[in-house]
């Protein structure tokens, strides 16, 4: 069953920094829906629908047990005014581990809480969470565990490499030409833009190896060149994945617990070579929990292959932070 994800893998559910993960969980579902709006008018003979561009996320925890731990679901539910406002939500359904996928949502938030019965101090319930707005799919950059000093996920040995992201499609290569620069043909649209960096593996027969990281120059939707001299012989086969993306990204930071520290600043950095990093997103200084923030880059920002998260605390204490990043 390697690679399979079950409800036991459901590791994180945070809403505005509140930890909503049930103490015991029987089932978990998440459903993303693209919303549409009726666009037919008087005289039309058929009903027509037009996508609004908005997504709706629905997450359920079924047959789950909850308690009244501070900053969990009961704390938020204590105020009815909290039930229909704009909020941030983060969920990780494949484990609370750096590099695993996460869902981030930002928008109008509501939730339904059906109490099934009570056993001692625990409440068993079916809970459904709705968010209408922006939905981002990305990877966990910092798992939700307590920290007591400054940390850096890169030096901790856990930077995230986009070329190993399982959500990426590996694009097959039909052939590369006998030319300098060599021109690569793909059987399907490659989806690249010029100056994108790609990682090629498995290509054979060229007089000069084209495998490795290359900068692409787009010629058509199914051809592009890379700066390699294959003037003696072209090649065939292989695949490539992208090493970077060029449309910015969205970062989510959720602080679910903070004690002692007078401040905390989180920062997402990226790198093309895993040697020199650049600042990508810097979150606002946090002085109390729960706290949540979603930041985005300007649209044409290049996000490089490696991502890491840096946490700087002020003073002494303990903090629990979850961070996810989605390439847009």
């Amino acid at each position: 069953m390697a690679g399979k994800i079950g409800s036991a893998s459901f590791g994180v559910l945070l809403v505005d920094g509140y930890d909503f993960l049930a103490s015991k969980l029987k089932a978990f579902t998440h459903k993303a829906t693209a919303t549409q709006e009726r666009s037919d008018g008087l005289g039309d003979t058929i009903e027509t629908m037009t996508p609004t561009g908005l997504l709706k996320l629905e997450i359920t925890q079924a047959g789950a047990f909850f308690d009244d731990t501070t900053n969990q679901t009961h704390t938020l539910l204590a105020t009815l005014a909290n039930l229909a406002v704009s909020r941030l939500l983060c969920a990780a359904f494949a484990g609370n581990t750096i590099g695993k996928p996460f869902l981030g949502a930002s928008g109008l938030y509501t939730h339904e809480y059906d109490v099934l019965g009570q056993v001692g101090q625990l409440t068993k319930a079916n809970v459904t969470y709705h968010v209408s707005g922006t939905l981002d799919r990305g990877v966990i950059l910092n798992q939700s565990v307590a920290k007591t000093v400054d940390w850096n996920t890169k030096t901790d040995g856990a930077s995230v490499d986009y070329t190993t992201d399982t959500s990426q499609r590996a694009i097959p290569i039909t052939s590369n030409t006998q030319a300098s620069p060599t021109v690569i043909t793909t059987p399907v649209p490659h989806g690249l833009t010029s100056a994108d960096i790609i990682l090629i593996t498995g290509n054979a027969s060229s007089n000069a190896a084209i495998n490795g990281e290359r900068v692409a120059t787009v010629i058509s939707t199914t051809t592009f060149s890379i700066p390699v001299n294959c003037g003696v012989a072209g090649g065939t086969g292989g695949t490539f994945v992208r090493s970077n993306t060029s449309n910015g990204g969205a970062g989510y930071q959720m602080v679910s617990a903070l004690s002692g520290f007078s401040g905390f600043v989180g920062k997402i950095r990226d790198s093309a070579d895993d040697i020199t990093y650049g600042d990508l997103l810097t979150f606002t200084n946090v002085t109390a929990a729960p706290a949540a923030e979603r930041l985005t880059n300007v649209a044409d920002t290049v996000v490089d292959r490696y991502l890491s998260f840096n946490g700087d605390v002020t003073g002494a204490g303990s903090i629990t932070v979850f961070v996810g990043f989605a390439r847009l």
């Binding site: 850096n152 890169k154 030096t155 950095r269 093309a272 650049g278 600042d279 290049v302």
Partner: protein, 67 residues
């Protein structure tokens, strides 16, 4: 091989340990030369206009401005 002094950072650049190499607007002398081509591709650094470099060279040749 690119030279760090010909380029300036557009974002803060740092080592993997988060030690600052260049702040936005600063030249990239402390950035490893091997990193410069990829930093250029990802628009984290930009070339310093030749006119600006020439001015800097002139002042360097003449000594400090307040000498």
């Amino acid at each position: 091989m690119l030279t760090g002094s010909d380029y300036r950072a557009r974002v803060r650049l740092s080592t993997k340990d988060n030690v600052t190499l260049a702040l936005p607007g600063e030249t990239c002398e402390r950035v490893p030369a091997a990193s410069l081509p990829l930093l250029l591709v990802s628009r984290k650094i930009e070339g310093i206009p030749i006119a600006e470099l020439a001015t800097e060279a002139t002042w360097a040749d003449l000594g400090r401005r307040d000498d």
